[in-house]
Structures are given as C-alpha cells and as structure tokens.
Amino acid sequence: MTATTPVTAPATEPKRKQRFDEGTGRLAATLLSPTLLVLGVVVLFPIISALRESLFTSGQHLDANGFVVKGETFVGLQNYADIFRGETGTRFWNAFYNTTFFTVVCVVLETVLGVAMALIMHKAFKGRGIVRASILVPWAIPTVISALLWKWIFQADGVANALLGTQILWSTEGWQSKLSVVLADTWKTAPFIGLLVLAGLQTIPAEVYEAAKVDGANAWKTFTRITMPLVKPALLVAVLFRILDTLRIFDLPFVLVGPHKDSVETLSMLAYDEAFNTRFGPAAAYATVLFVYIALVAYLFVKILGADVIGEARAKKPGGGKGGGRWKRSNAVKASASAAVTVSAASGSGRNI
C-alpha cells in the first residue's frame, strides 16, 4: 500500500474534493465544536476575564468616608499604571529582565547544543537506540522533580561544588542562582531540540548530499548550504516553542531557587505571587502584560524569521501562505525534498529514527 500511495494520490485528488466538499462546512463545524467549546471555556474565557479583572481591585479597603468596603472596585488602568512605577515598578522590571534573560540565554544554549547533538546522532550508526532512550529521560522527568534534583546537586556541600572544587552557594541571590536555573533548563530541553532537529535531518535525502559531494562542497559548506537550510523549518518551530515556553517559565526557578528571590523572579512568578495573596487585580494585570509580551515575541518571530507552525497545511495550498516569498521558496524545496520520505512514513507506523 505504501508504494502505491504517491502514484495514485494526484489522480484521486479532484475526485476526493468533490466527494468531501459537499456540505462539509457544516459537518466540520459540528465536529470541531466540542474542541473549540472547551478551548473557549479554558482559554478564551480566562483571557477575557483577566482583561476585565485587571481593571478592578478587590479586597477590603476604606472608602472616602472611612467605611470598610468589601468586594471589587473599578480602578480603570490603575493596576497597569502601578506596574511600571515605584517599588512595584522596580520589581516588575527586574522580573521582566529575568524572564527575557532566561529566554535568550536558555534558548540560544539549547539550540546550539541541540543542533550539535542532532548532528552527532545523525552521524552515528551504533547506539542510536540508547541515545534516543537516554535523551527522553530528562524530558520525561517532571520539571518540579528536576528542579529539586538540581537544587540537591547545587547544594552548598553538594556534588556540583565537590566536582568543581568550589564553595559556591548556588541557590542564594546572585548570578550563580541564575546560572543554576539556566543549567537545569538546558539539561532538560536541549536533548529535546536535538530530537526534533534529528527528525528534520532525516528527511533530507542522501542524494542531496551526494550531489553536494560531486560538486566538491566541503563539510562546512555542506552544513551551511544544505543541512541548515533544509533543517531550518523544523528548527524554527522548535525554537519558537522553546521561546514561548521559557517566557512563561515558572516551576524551575520557583522550586530550584524559591519565590521572592530577585535574581530569578520571573513574570509568571510575580503574577502567581499576587494571585496567591488574593490581589487578583494586579495579578491579572501582570498576567496580561506577560501575555501581550509573549504574543508580541511570537508575532515578531513568525514575521521576521517565518517560522511555519502549520507548515503542512500551507504546503498543500501553495498560493495560500502569507509568508514572504523567500520563505515560500525554501518551503517548497523542503516539501519536494521530503516528499520521498513522507511516502515511506505514510504507513502510519511513525518515522524511524
């Protein structure tokens, strides 16, 4: 069956369209409604109510006549204004800086390490099974547990200091606690990026490399001119998801170093702290600012680098993309390069790595 798929696929294309198109709009809407409904309740509703909430303060306070008022009071943009000034302003900008710092440093490190790992795994013919299994171990360990593990490793008289011959108090305020978070995060996710890049590497047909060899390209040229451009779509998506994930980082610094530590407090931790103290208004304002920040980063990333998150859907309709022309071309290259591979993977058993 696998072998016949590519041959018959173009021929059946128009026929399928006719059969599936009639009345599919309504059917699709019906079938999609449960998912969209659930997502509406657990995502859209909270986002909107956070926006509303951020315009109120709650809890007890005194009104103009000195009476205790309970419940919510509309304060307009007060919560947002408060974020940026005074003592809360210092705390906010510190958290904003930490969040950005972790994102930039962790993602850069993880990408470099991940690509390196993928190249090694791609080259090695022996021991792939062991590597694949061991790479999944850091990924499968819950972040909280790995945070505790790293806290233990970075203990004052722990193994990190013993191995390094140092006396660093890792989980106290300062650069060292930042570094411990970066190391722990990199350990957990660099292998994961490696895994995704490896899958991308394996969609590159051997003929492309042979052609490069015939043309006399050296190893470095092959890497920059062939490997990287062809792996780029997979890598960009992985990096985008890592960026979004690191921007909302919470568990790791919260458990590894602890709450209320200036060196590692992130925007998520700040919002959590406010909500934990039932200051829902400011908490919602912080959460909204973080949300806008993440949306902005995602938008810029997709716009500038052209990460193609729903790549396949777009590849099917060549005219329908909104990405730049340069991007579409390289996408087309990828599509044609991976066509041969997709066929063998189409049997449904998953790719063989």
């Binding site: 999609l32 657990v42 063989n352």
Partner: protein, 286 residues
C-alpha cells in the same frame, strides 16, 4: 560536530569519522543520564550518608523510600491524585480531540488553516494568565481543592497538544482506507469508527502517553488550585516536603520521591521510545 573537521590525511580522517560520533554519543548519554543517576544514587543512600558524594550508594538503604511513604507526608495519596488528574485529562482530551483531529486531517473546508492555527495558538498562552482568573472563578464557585479545578485548566495545554499530534497521525494514513470502506457501503461516520479508529490505535496510544506525561508533569495549576494535602498531586507534595528540623530540606526523601514519580515515566519512555519520538516530531517536522 563531526561535520566541521577539516580534511586531514585520508587514513586518519576515516578513523576520526568512525570514532568521533561514538565519542559524541557517549558524551550525550552521560550528559542526559548523569543527573538522573545522581537522583537514584542519592535516593538509595542511608539518611545518615545523605551528604556523601560517593558515586555508589554504599551501604545500600531503602530508608528514604520508607520515609517518603510515611503517613505524615501524604505521598501515596498524592500519587493517586496525580493519577486521577492526569488520567482524566488524558481520557477527556482524547475523546474530544480525536474528532477534531480527524476533521482537520480529512475534511476540506473554508478556514481550516485558521482553525488549526487557533488551536495551536491556544497552547501558547502563558499558564499564569489562565490560572489567575480561573482561580478567582473557582474560589467563587467553591471548586478549590477539587479534582475538576485541576483537570479543567489542564485541558488548555493538553487539548491543543493532542489535536496537533492526532492530526499529524491521521494525515499519515492513506485516504484510500476510508474511500474503500465507503465504496463497501459505510457512511463516513462508520468508516471513521470501524476503519480509522482501529488503524489509528498506535497514534492514539502515542498521543495518550505524551498527553499523560504532560499532565503528570503539570505543577502551577495543581499548586494554585489546592491548599489541602489530601487533594494535592505528587508534584506539589514533593515540592513541599519539610525536613525534621523545618529549616533544612529532606533531600534524601525528596530524591526518593522523585525516583518514584519518575520511574513510571522512564519505563514508559524506554518501552515506547520509538512511538514517543515519532509523536513528538510529527507536529514539528512537517
């Protein structure tokens, strides 16, 4: 790495080419497993040897594990709670997500890409901006310290993950399958139920594992929505273990608890590594 070795003499080059990747493999495996190994070793030490940095846990002891399951910790209950929450999230997600994924993979309709984009986008929202308003809502409707208060918000990341994974799996299955079934007189719904679901079982299974691991690892929601030990998940309970003297951290029992929480996942990963890798990369590399 091996790619940027300059061209040296042919014989030396060939030897390098053979051994360098192998060396790289060893480094990667060590990098991934060494911290995990340290967790296991620390867990099996005697509490009195806790601060020993010897590479092997000698003398061997399971005292830490006994301490973890001591009644005061509520760790056993925490494991059960984790299982209930992660299990419910997985089952709910699969039931809801499978229909949507099949629709997205097979039906051609206007705005399909938009719907897929919306579903993926919802997984990108920061958890905290969902938790804050939901926490307030759950306080109002008295859902704090209930399972549903942890299950419902978890759908926000589990459902997009499952839909995305399943869509990729359904797309890999040849369309001829349903067409053949329909030629034989099945309605599209029957074709889905009788042909697709059994054939998609591996994909569904993989998605179930990945969703379960994601839900099992969840921390922020479980931390925010509960304050009673009897309802908290294992992750929250382990993070809040307190030592005998209050100030110091009981790292030995925390490592033992970590091993208990992690071992089922590690076994699942070892058993189903091929499928998990296929599932994880299905969405990312298309």
């Amino acid at each position: 790495m091996a790619a940027d070795i300059p061209q040296v003499r042919a014989g030396e080059n060939a030897a390098l080419k053979r051994w360098l990747p192998l060396l790289g493999i060893v480094v990667i495996v060590l990098y991934c497993l060494a911290p995990f190994y340290w967790m296991v070793v620390s867990a099996f030490r005697r509490p009195s040897d806790q601060f020993s940095n010897a590479p092997l846990p000698l003398p061997f002891s399971i005292q830490n594990f006994k301490d973890v399951f001591a009644s005061g910790n509520g760790f056993g209950r925490g494991l059960l709670n984790s299982l209930i929450v992660a299990g419910s999230v997985t089952i709910l997600t699969l039931i809801i997500g499978m229909v949507a994924a099949y629709t997205l993979a097979r039906l051609d309709f206007k705005g399909k890409n938009l719907v897929l984009a919306i579903i993926i986008t919802t997984s990108m929202f920061p958890g905290i901006s969902l938790v804050v308003p939901l926490l307030k809502l759950f306080v109002d409707i008295k859902w704090i310290n209930t399972y549903q208060a942890m299950i419902v918000p978890s759908l926000s990341f589990a459902l997009p993950l499952a839909v995305w994974n399943l869509t990729a799996f359904f797309r890999q299955m040849p369309q001829e399958l349903e067409q053949a079934a329909m030629v034989d007189g099945c309605t599209p719904a029957q074709a889905f139920r009788k042909v697709i679901i059994p054939l998609a079982a591996p994909g569904v299974f993989t998605t179930a594992i990945i969703t379960f691991i994601a839900a099992w690892n969840e921390f922020m929601i479980a931390l925010s929505m509960t304050n009673k030990k009897s309802i908290q998940t294992a992750n929250v309970i382990v993070s809040q273990f307190t030592g005998a003297t209050g100030r110091d951290q009981p790292f030995g029992s925390q490592m033992a608890a970590g091993v208990v929480v992690t071992i089922p996942l590690v076994i699942a990963v070892l058993l189903f590594q091929r499928r998990i890798v296929a599932g994880l990369t299905a969405g990312g590399v298309k």
